[in-house]
């Protein structure tokens, strides 16, 4: 069997063979009933969107203010950079970890956590 020019017509006929000018009788009634049900479900808005579309819309709505907030915080952090802090550290608000800062955090930590876990109080001793 070979491809012949009339096969284009066969292609047309094959598609036309399954084509119908109308849906099954009563289509308008079914379509109206479906529409009524959708309206009842969506509270009259009659707008149905796919979940992915809804997520996409939500993202597009939230992304600009979130990006603006991130930018403001980054500028604030870099503007108030502490001595010895790199730009990256300042951007993410990280402080330089050192023995002194660790001890500071440890001594500043309230005993409440220890109490919660029943560990008693941590005492930090500075050796001369």
């Amino acid at each position: 069997m070979t491809y012949r020019p009339e096969d284009q017509q066969r292609l047309h006929d094959a598609l036309a063979g399954s084509r119908r000018d109308r849906f099954d009788p009563g289509f308008a009634d079914r379509a109206v009933a479906r529409w009524r049900a959708e309206r009842a479900f969506t509270g009259g808005a009659a707008e149905t969107v796919a979940f992915s579309v809804a997520v996409n819309r939500l993202f597009l709505r939230l992304a600009p203010p979130v990006a603006a907030a991130v930018l403001v915080l980054a500028v604030h952090n870099v503007g108030n950079r502490r001595e010895g802090q790199t730009i990256v550290q300042a951007l993410i608000g990280a402080s330089t970890a050192s023995e002194t800062t660790m001890l500071t955090y440890a001594s500043a930590a309230p005993g409440s956590l220890d109490a919660i876990y029943g560990l008693g109080t941590i005492t930090v001793s500075h050796q001369e």
Binding site: M1, Y3, R4, L11, W35, A46
Partner: protein
């Protein structure tokens, strides 16, 4: 109320306000255009009916996007094609799963047989072409339906499918190449 004198936009606005008879008038007015595309894509049956109903429901989801610059019929056709493509993809996945689980016979396109012109051969050939069409994936089938069956221009087809004209042409070429492969090489 008689809606015959109202244009599509007026009907659309009334239907959006909950006027059921306006919605029915829209459905009846455009059923044929939607049915022709959907049944060509999916064949007649429950799937086609379901897609037809959803096409008209989705019209209101896209209400904001329809501002009268595009014909409502064109807009409906676009929705119908997209929904039909979704169904074809779902069918394809189900068919693949069915084959993987050994639940059904593999539907392969029948290939070459000697070139004759008797009625039996003609009937076989028609069947081969039909199967080749059925084996096309959704994107290619949509292009074939719009370009060859609906006889729309490349530009119209591109607009309906939301793709560049070059993509329409390449998909059509690929679909026809698949048909040629199914029927065997052209004789010199």
């Amino acid at each position: 109320m008689n809606h015959r004198n109202l244009d599509d936009r007026q009907l659309l606005l009334r239907a959006a306000d909950g006027d059921e008879s306006a919605y029915r008038a829209l459905v009846e007015r455009h059923e044929q255009a939607v049915a022709r595309v959907v049944t060509a894509m999916l064949g007649p049956g429950d799937d086609a009916d379901d897609v037809g109903q959803m096409t008209f429901v989705r019209l209101f989801g896209a209400k904001a996007a329809f501002r009268g610059d595009a014909q409502l019929r064109t807009y409906l056709t676009r929705i119908a094609i997209n929904l039909s493509c979704d169904v074809l993809e779902r069918r394809r996945k189900q068919s693949r799963w069915h084959r993987l689980t050994g639940g059904g016979a593999d539907e392969e396109v029948q290939l070459a047989s000697p070139d004759t012109t008797d009625p039996v051969e003609t009937s076989e050939r028609n069947e081969t072409v039909r199967q080749a069409v059925e084996s096309l994936d959704a994107k290619h089938k949509a292009v074939v339906v719009l370009r060859i069956l609906e006889e729309r221009s490349t530009r119209d087809t591109a607009e309906l499918l939301g793709v560049p004209e070059g993509t329409v042409m390449s998909r059509l070429t690929r679909a026809l190449a698949k048909l040629k492969t199914a029927l065997g090489p052209e004789s010199p």
